[in-house]
Symmetry: none
Subunit: 195 residues, 4 copies
DNA sequence: TATGAATGAGTCTTCATTCAT
DNA sequence: TATGAATGAAGACTCATTCAT
C-alpha cells in the first residue's frame, strides 16, 4: 500500500525545512523530495507558510502531549521535573530535524514567528507549573518560575543541539545526568549556604 | 563631522538583520536605513554574506573579550562563573538586536552557520575552562564540562531572550539572581544528598 | 494552434542575440520579443548562457548537416568543394542573423567561446576532409588542409557578412562565382606556373 | 624613467579588452592592470567607449600604414598582393591580442561597431585597389574586387586566428605559402580551363 | 485529486561614471 | 594631474503561486 501524498509531503517538508530553513527551502525542493508535483502541495496546503505552521504545530504538540501524558498527579515536583528533563532530551534525540527548525525559526517579529513562540510558550507552561508547585510545596527554592522555566528549556535545548549539530554520538543518558545535576543541585559541592 | 559611511552601514545592518533575519533582510533595506546608495555597501563589503559575517564576528568578539578581560587570575572558579553569568546577562540587555541575530542564524548546515557556531564555541570555551578549573579544585561537582557550558550558555540566552522578545522590562539583576541560583545550587532546597 | 512558448523563445533569442550580441542582449529583451514572461525562459533554459549555447548548437548543426547530406560519395573533390562553397553562401543568406552571432561570439577565452569554436571546427572538418581527398587524388595542389579549410571558411564568411552588414542586396550567385574562382583557380590568369 | 600613465593605460587596455572583450572588461580591471587609480583613466579618456575606439584606431592605422608604406609604385599587382598577404600574416602574429579584439567587436549595429567596420573597410580598400589594378592590367581574372578583397581579408584573418587561438605554434611562413597559393592559383592543379 | 507550464514581483550584484580632495 | 569613495541604473536569476487540463 502506498503512502498518502499528504504524508509524503509532510515528511519531505520536515527534511527540507530543517536542512535549509524556512526561507531557503523552496516548494520545488519539497515537491522533489516528496516525489510529487508542485501543484499537489498547493492542493493540500494553502501556502508555504501554512504547510510550515502545520508542521511545527504537530511537532510541538507531540512534545507537549508526550510529556503531559506522563506527568502523573501523585508525583512530587522533583519527580515531575526530572521526567520533563528526561523526556525533552529524548525528544531532541528522536526529532532532531524538527528541533533544529524550532530553534532556527522562533526568533523574529514575523507573524509566523510570534505564533511559534506561543507554541513553545505553551510547552514552557508545563515546566512553569511544576516549578510553581515545587516552590509552593517548599521543595524548591523561591525563584521566578518564568525565568527558570525558560532557562531550563534553553539549557536542555542548546546542550542537546550542541551535541546533535556537532555530529557527535548523542548519549541521552549522560546528558540527562548533567542536566539533572544542573537543574536540582547546581554546580557547587557545598550547596546553597555558600551563596 | 559626520560618521563614516562604513559605520552607518554597520549599524543599519545590525538593525535590519535582527529585525528580519538574514534571508528576509534586503540590501535595499540596509542601504535605505543607512542613508547610503546600495552600491556603497558593495564598495565596503563584498557581499551580503560578508557584511553579515563581519557583523557577527565583531559582536561575538565584543562579548568574549568583554568577559575575558574581566576574568582575573586570582578569582575562584565560583567567582569567575558568577561574573560570566552576570556579564552575559548584561550583554544581552545591551545588545538585544545582535543577540537575536545570534540565536536566529546559528542553526543550520550552511557555511555561514557553521562559522557562527564556531564563533559561539569560542565563547563557550571560556565557560568550559572555568568549569574544568572548578572541578579540578573540587569546588564543583564532577560533570561533563562541555555539556554544562553549552547548557549554561543556552539557559542564560534563552531566558534573556524570552524576556526581551516578550517586550517585558528587562530586569537584569533579578534574572541574574535566578540564573545564579540555577547555576550554583540548583532548585532543590535539600541539596545534592537527595539525588 | 499556437506555437509552443519554447519555439517563440528560440526565435526571439536569435533575433535579439544577433542584434545586440551576447553581453548586451538582456533576458528582458528576449522575453518581450517572445511575448513571454521572463520566468518562462528560465523554465525552459537554465541560464542565458545555456539558451545561447543551445541556439548556436542548433545553428551549426543545421549548416553542417545541410552540407553533409548533400555530399554524395561519387562526387569528385572539386564537385564536393564547389557544393560546400555554394551551400555555405546560401546558408549565410538565409540565416544572416545566426551567422552574425557566430562571427561575433566565437573569439575569446570564455568557456562558451571555446565551445563555439569547437562547433565551428566540426564544420571545418568537412571541408578539410574534402581538401585531403582532393590532394590524395591529385586533383588539388599539395597544401596544409587545416590552413586551407579555415581560410576557405573565413573567406566565404567574411565576404558574405561584408555584404549582408553593408545592407546591400545579397546576390548569392555572383558571390559564388567569385568565391569559386578564388577557391579553385585563384586570381592569376597564368595559373600556377608563375609562382 | 617611469612610463607615462597614459601609455600604461593604453597597454593595460589592450590586454584586458582582448582577454575579456569590450563588454566584459571593466574599468576596474584596466585600472588595476595599469596600476593606476580608476579616476586617472577618466582623466585621460572621456569614457570606456572612447578609450576603446582610440585603441582600435591606433591598431588599424598601424596595420594599414605598415602595409601602405611598403607598397611601392613600381611593383606589379601580383607583387603588391603578395606583400599584403605576407604583411597581414605577420601583423596577426605580432598583434594577436589586438586582432582578437578586431574580430570580436566588429559585428553588430552599435555606433562603435559601425565605426570599426569603417576602419577595417579603410584597410580593405588597399587590397581592393590592388585587385582592380591587377584586373585592369589583365594580370588577374575579372572578378568583383569588393567581394575578393573582403574574401581575402577574411581568409587570412580567420586562418591566422584559427592557429593563434588553437594555441599552436604560429608558423607565419608556412601559412603564407598556403595563403599565397589560395590567392593566386587556387586549389586546382589543372588551372582555370577546368572551370 | 493531481499535474507542471507559466508568471512577474523581488533580490543580489555589477560597473561606468562623477566629484570632492 | 591623480585619486578612490560614492552613486544608482540595469541585469541575471529565483521562486511562491496560479490555473488550465
Amino acid at each position: 500500500m502506498r503512502k498518502s501524498k499528504m504524508s509524503l509531503i509532510f515528511q519531505a517538508a520536515i527534511d527540507v525545512f530543517s536542512e535549509k530553513g524556512f526561507d531557503k527551502a523552496t516548494m520545488d525542493d519539497i515537491a522533489a523530495r516528496a516525489n510529487v508535483a508542485k501543484g499537489t502541495i498547493y492542493y493540500h496546503f494553502k501556502s508555504k507558510e501554512e504547510l510550515f505552521l502545520f508542521l511545527v504545530e504537530e511537532g510541538v504538540e507531540l512534545l507537549r502531549d508526550g510529556v503531559e501524558s506522563k506527568l502523573l498527579p501523585d508525583m512530587t515536583p522533583t519527580e515531575k521535573l526530572e521526567l520533563i528533563v528526561r523526556e525533552q532530551i529524548n525528544f531532541f534525540g528522536q526529532y532532531r530535524d524538527f528541533c533544529v527548525i524550532l530553534l532556527r525559526e522562533s526568533w523574529g517579529a514575523e507573524e509566523r514567528q510570534l505564533e511559534f513562540r506561543k507554541m513553545i510558550r505553551s510547552y514552557m507552561y508545563l515546566i512553569e507549573a511544576v516549578v510553581q508547585e515545587g516552590i509552593a510545596k517548599e521543595e524548591f527554592h523561591f525563584v521566578n518560575p518564568e525565568n527558570v522555566s525558560s532557562g531550563l528549556f534553553g539549557m536542555i535545548s542548546i546542550a542537546a543541539l550542541h551535541i546533535l549539530l556537532g555530529h557527535k554520538p548523542y548519549d541521552g543518558d549522560a546528558l540527562f545526568q548533567d542536566m539533572r545535576r544542573m537543574t536540582f543541585s547546581g554546580l557547587l559541592k557545598q550547596g546553597e549556604d555558600k551563596l
